[in-house]
Structures are given as C-alpha cells and as structure tokens.
Subunit: 154 residues, 2 copies
DNA sequence: TGTTAATATTTAACATGTTATATTTATCGT
DNA sequence: ACGATAAATATAACATGTTAAATATTAACA
C-alpha cells in the first residue's frame, strides 16, 4: 500500500539520459572550435549555413534549414545577417517564386578558407585524443541512430 | 602556381563534422521527447534543471548550470520562471552569501513523476529501434569522448 | 586591518530557438 | 478559368544562448 519510495527514482539517472549525453559531448567538442569561429567573427549557426552552402552549391532556404538543423524563422534572420555582411547571396527561384535560393559568395568562401586550416588542426587534436578508430565508430553509431529514428518518425 | 581547386574542399565534408553529427543525433532523439515536455508545459531547459535537482538534492546555481550545460545568465531566467511556477525553491547559502542554493519542490517532483512513465516509454521505443547494445556502446563512447576532451581542456 | 584580487550571481544587449500566425505563390479539382 | 487547399517563407512574441559588464561577497595578503 506504500507509494513509490522517494529514494527510488522513477526516471533513469540524469547522466544516463541520451539527450544529456549528446549535449555534453557536443559541448566538449564545440569548446575546441568556438574560439576559431569567434576569431572569424561568425556565430555557430552562421558557420553552419556557410558550410552547408560551400560545396553544397545553391540551395533552397528550406533545404539549408534541414541540413543545418535550423528552424526557418531562425534561418531568415541568420541569412539576413550573412547577406548584410556579403557572405551569402539571396535570390528568388524563377521556377517557383515561393522559394528563396541561397548561395555562398566569394567572400564567404574566403572566410571558410581562412578558418579551414585552424579547424582541421583542432579536428586532428580531437582525433589524437580520442582515437581515430573511436571517432569513426562514433560517427557510424550516430548515423545509425539518426537513420533508425528518422525512418520511423511518425 | 595555381590556387586551391574550388572542387577540392579545404574542409572535411559537412556530414563528417562531429559537431553536426552530434547535433543531428540529438535532434533525432529530442523529436521523440519534445511532445511530452510540451504536454507537461515545460521547456527542454526547465526540464533539465528539474531533473538535475531531482535526486541531486539541493545544489548551487553554478553546479546546476554545469550539470545542465547552461550558462548562468540563462539559468537566472529559467529559475525565475520555475520559481514563479512553484516548481523550484531558491535560498541564499548561509555560509557564502554569494551562492544561491536551488532545490526542487514537491510540485516539481510531482511534475517529474507525471512525465516519467511517458519518458521511459519513449526511451524503450528508442532502445528497441536502435538496439540495447548499440545504445550502451554509444553512451560509453560519448562519455569517453567527454573525458578525453575535458581532461585536456586548456 | 584594509586594500586588492578572486568568485558567484545578476543585468543588459543582441542573436537564436520556438511556436503561432500571416503572406505569398503553386497545385489540384471542378 | 475558378476556388479551395497545400507549400515556402516571413513576421511576431516570448524564452533561451551568448558575451560583456556590473554587483555583491569572499579570500588573500601586505
């Protein structure tokens, strides 16, 4: 007739929460990269948009949002800032006037080229600390997790 | 004498970026939990604070921020909201008046108890889709990554 | 003891996250 | 062609993320 024991948690420990584990891991990694972006004068999100467009060619706003894990209201403002800085260009899609086509400018590519060697150096640092095999396996597991969850998204 | 070939990326592919992989994985996972929190009327961050205090006992604001991956200016506002809703209690630390001690209230615990079974059900769903062994291994790898990076944080 | 440096939290300002809604343009069925 | 529905983006409002600076308290030390 007794209720749940207060010392008996109804929920898994905070540290065993997968969202927390992923968040903490991302924070640990980003702590290594943030100084570079700060030095380059771009935010994390602005950097993601530039990276998606660089090599990804011109893309619809919606596609950029999907690839960058951004919601479209955020993207609207981020692109406004990037366009004001001359790092990204906007134009209407002639075939569908609803769509906004985004592309990186030469100035945007130059910024990426400036940051790239520093970024790769940090990546090499992380690889050395964590191990190349561990890193590959982690990438594979993360991709598998996303595939498993997204395929069955209601 | 030629510069870098534009088709030859100076940076690893966007999809091979560890920060992006961690972000996408977290999004895929959170998509399963967000409806529950929304239904319970709390944000992700408010939920993290409640979870940290539940079972973690009373904690300094700074310690809560560390455990929840929140910056202290964010925590100030989040706790203000939680306190206004009666889910968290604030008091000064008598031994160090600079410190703010936070604790969860009975109402806060009741909210967690209400959400817990739904949350665990989602977790079971994820475990079934991804595999218990994969999940354990992923947790271990994430913890190892954090340990490797945090130990050597400049 | 009194002055300075360090620590914990808060405030302020601006960028982004998040939800709801509005606006514009396409598509579909008739 | 017309009207209803759907789709893509933008706007609005509030919560949070992020940096810098302010405030209050404590610790360190000459």
């Amino acid at each position: 007739m007794s209720g749940p024991d207060p010392a008996d948690p109804v929920l898994r420990g905070f540290s065993r929460s997968l969202p927390m584990a992923l968040l903490q891991a991302r924070e640990a990694v980003m702590n290594r990269f943030r100084p570079l972006l700060r030095e380059a004068g771009v935010t994390e999100q602005q950097w993601r948009v530039l990276r998606a467009l660089d090599g990804g060619g011109p893309l619809d706003a919606g596609e950029v949002a999907r690839r960058c894990c951004l919601l479209t209201p955020s993207l609207t403002r981020i692109v406004k800032t990037l366009a004001a800085g001359g790092l990204v260009a906007r134009r209407q899609d002639p075939g569908d006037l609803r769509r906004l086509v985004l592309d990186i400018t030469p100035a945007g590519r130059a910024l990426i080229a400036r940051v790239a060697p520093l970024s790769e150096a940090r990546y090499a640092e992380i690889t050395a600390l964590f191990g190349a095999a561990n890193l590959d396996d982690l990438h594979a597991k993360l991709a598998a997790l996303v595939a498993a969850l997204d395929e069955t998204a209601d």
